[in-house]
């Protein structure tokens, strides 16, 4: 039993040099077999392991991570959490997750700093405003919070936005989801890891999967850099590298790996209160608790595994952000980073079974995987435990591309680079 996290315990530590804390997770040697193996120690994989143990009582679980946990996209995003999608399959899924987010710190006994500060999409013309109303109406009919804001209401929340009519993209209004916000990304991975570990899950770092153990059309385990490990069910959960890992099992996926860049400025006192996005522009802005303005834009829309971005893509996103909020001009870009994203071919994720028995897939999160972490983990755990999709991830099947039941929020079709 680990020492629970609490203010009292921290105070106690003040008198013992904080010497009473144990490691947040163990560093076990891999066993020869498990009930379930999850490939990938990112947010989704760790969350799936946690819910397998907690909700389904399956604790003989290993999470295999080729590097260090949380080193992939869960630690490389802009930390936005929201459920404001137009399409019902998406908003229902993400809303389920948003509800988990609201209680996540307590559930994990790890403060993930989920901050429901509100996320707004700005509208810049009548067409935008109709589209935002349509999205908000679709959400509201399904019981999800959404509110239209007038420029005057926006000014109260974000006074530094350029709300003048002479702006290149004047702001006509916004759709805000108050229950949306941001969270501390690393803490999500660590919190799930610590909680899963406490329930008996083996988190095995520096263990790269190099191949699958196959018996006919069934996967019975994996070959790794630390030896062969068998399992009744194996789940791939390696955002960014799904195409590569699935390729080891002979699967070609409706996914292309692209680089998504993000950046943070030097810290300043509070200047951005909410999460700001736009219906017409392709940048998103929020401010971290340390004061840095965190922002991102469109992906580098060609395939790459390099985690090296293209500078003019960032410069374009910054131009949009400074144009929306001129006060950003004299801040300085402090740090940049890139993640390798699984761009799926309709913009929606893939969670479910594969044509190969015993092999499951959680992939294709495009640039929206962080917010999905709890819901993705929950539904993937259900799928891994029962062999069948949960009703929330049933629409996100791998087969949908061949049947045509694609879930295309941005409605641009199969080419991820057109999205």
């Amino acid at each position: 039993m680990k020492t629970p996290y609490s203010a009292f315990s921290l105070l106690r530590g003040a008198f013992n040099g904080q010497k009473h804390w144990e490691p947040a997770w163990r560093d076990p040697e891999p066993r020869s077999s498990y009930d379930v193996i999850i490939i990938g120690g990112g947010g989704h994989g760790l969350a799936a392991a946690y819910y397998l143990a907690k909700v389904h009582g399956i604790r003989n679980v290993a999470v295999l991570e080729k590097s260090w946990i949380g080193g992939g996209n869960v630690g490389r995003n802009t930390t936005l959490v929201r459920s404001n999608y137009r399409l019902p399959q998406l908003h229902n899924f993400f809303e389920f997750g948003l509800k988990l987010w609201h209680n996540l710190s307590d559930d994990l006994n790890y403060n993930v700093m989920f901050s429901p500060r509100g996320a707004m999409f700005l509208g810049h013309n009548d067409g935008d405003m109709i589209k935002l109303a349509e999205r908000g109406d679709a959400m509201r009919c399904d019981g999800i919070d959404a509110e239209l804001l007038s420029p005057k209401q926006i000014a109260k929340i974000e006074p530094l936005l350029d709300l003048s009519r002479s702006a290149r993209f004047p702001i006509d209004g916004a759709l805000i989801q108050w229950r949306a916000g941001t969270a501390r990304h690393d803490a999500v991975a660590w919190g799930y890891a610590r909680a899963a570990d406490a329930l008996g899950v083996d988190i095995i770092q520096k263990c790269e999967v190099t191949g699958f153990v196959r018996d006919g059309n069934r996967i019975t385990g994996v070959e790794t850099t630390r030896g062969r490990i068998l399992a009744a069910r194996t789940g791939i959960c390696v955002a960014g590298h799904s195409g590569h890992v699935a390729g080891l099992a002979g699967l070609r996926l409706p996914i292309e790996a692209q680089t998504l860049q993000a950046l943070v400025t030097e810290g300043v006192k509070p200047m951005v209160q909410s999460v700001i996005m736009s219906q017409s522009l392709h940048c998103y802005i929020s401010q971290s608790d340390k004061g840095g303005i965190v922002m991102g834009g469109d992906p580098d829309n060609w395939p790459s595994y390099a985690r090296r971005g293209q500078p003019t893509i960032k410069e374009g996103a910054i131009a949009q952000a400074v144009s929306m909020m001129p006060a950003l001009s004299r801040l300085r870009m402090l740090r940049t980073w890139s993640g390798v994203t699984d761009m799926s071919f309709d913009g929606a994720p893939i969670i479910g079974t594969t044509p190969i028995d015993g092999l499951y897939l959680n992939a294709g999160w495009c640039y929206g995987g962080f917010k999905a972490t709890p819901a993705s983990g929950w539904t993937y755990a259900h799928t891994l435990a029962t062999g069948k999709p949960h009703e929330l991830n049933a629409p996100f099947s791998l087969e949908r591309f061949m049947t045509g039941a694609t879930i295309d929020e941005t409605a641009v079709g199969p080419m991820p680079n057109h999205r």
Binding site: L253, P303, Q310, M402
Partner: protein, 87 residues
Amino acid sequence: MYQIACPHCGPRAQTEFTYERTTDSVVDPAADAHTAMHALYTRANPMGLDDEVWRHTYGCRAWMVLTRHRVTHEITAVKAIGPEALA
């Protein structure tokens, strides 16, 4: 920011070019539905070289096939395609 050797214009900055898709996902209009959808909806995603269709969209607008490494970003070959390349 790559430097891409356009077969018609010479070396130019990547910002002049757009990526279209891998050559194995170019869908033959005469293909049967299954073959077409398989080409359209699956990719090999190698962690190495792949052949890709690019266009010098903000330059001469011509199309070409790049052989490009997905990790190092090295471009090992550029080949013109289109009617002019048929001759």
